[in-house]
């Protein structure tokens, strides 16, 4: 069974440029998460989807970040414009249902903003 797929693995951009990350969760997993992991820190939740509905986006900086999960399957996270402090690894995870805490993570997308 295929795991969570993310792309791109690495992205280097200059500040003020836009960037987008894509995630395809494990088939049949209704819950999808975007996390951000800064260097030396644990993952921090940005947004959680139940199917196509964003049920928790309280930690998403909405002035520059946006996300969508059309049709309740794959998802895109966008940053526009990027700032130096956005340099981090963006992790996508999925789970079959809410409540277990057992998330399946992708390999992450490492963003460097120059």
């Amino acid at each position: 069974e295929a795991g969570v797929v993310q792309s791109p693995r690495y992205k280097i951009i200059e500040k003020k440029q836009p960037v987008a990350f894509w995630c395809n969760p494990i088939s049949g997993h209704n819950t999808l998460y975007w996390y951000r992991q800064n260097l030396g820190q644990g993952p921090e939740l940005l947004i959680r989807y139940e199917n196509e509905e964003a049920v928790d986006d309280s930690q998403l900086p909405k002035d520059r970040f946006s996300a969508e999960r059309l049709k309740g399957v794959d998802s895109t996270l966008k940053i526009q414009p990027a700032e130096l402090g956005d340099s981090a690894v963006y992790l996508c995870a999925s789970s079959p249902g809410q409540g277990s805490g057992e998330l399946f993570f992708g390999e992450g997308s490492r963003l460097t903003v120059l």
Binding site: V4, Y33, G40, Q41, G42, P43, E44, L45, R48, D56, L91, A93, Q98, G99, S100, G101, E102, L103, F104, F105, G106, E107, G108
Partner: protein
């Protein structure tokens, strides 16, 4: 304010010995705890979990202990193997309210042959 704390950034252990990784939490509403393991350039993978109604859960070489009164949990790895060298994240959630996972900063374990 960190709700899940891993105060040891790193731990070095000899192969075959016991590794003990510690985690403290502040939110008394947490009722489900997990450990994740992360290798470089990979995403975290689930390792073991424990519900607040238990004080111990064992899975092969890995055992998690929970002390609710002290708001403390620990992960024991016995015997430690070089392949266990990774960053270990403690995570907690309020399962009853279907809350989100809150992660600690991680502890980097190095198991030396």
């Amino acid at each position: 304010d960190q709700q899940v704390k891993q105060n040891s950034p790193s731990l070095s252990v000899q192969e075959g010995r016991i590794s003990i990784l510690n985690c403290d939490y502040t939110n008394s509403m947490f009722d489900y705890f997990l450990w994740y393991k992360k290798y470089p350039a990979e995403g975290p993978t689930f390792l073991i979990s424990i519900s607040s109604i238990k004080d111990k859960n064992e899975d092969g070489r890995f055992t998690v202990f929970l002390n609710k009164s002290a708001k403390h949990l620990s992960l024991h790895i016995v015997p430690s193997q070089p392949g266990d060298s990774a960053v270990y994240f403690c995570a907690a959630m309020n399962g009853g309210s279907q809350g989100n996972l809150i992660f600690g900063k991680g502890t980097k374990l190095s198991v030396k042959p």
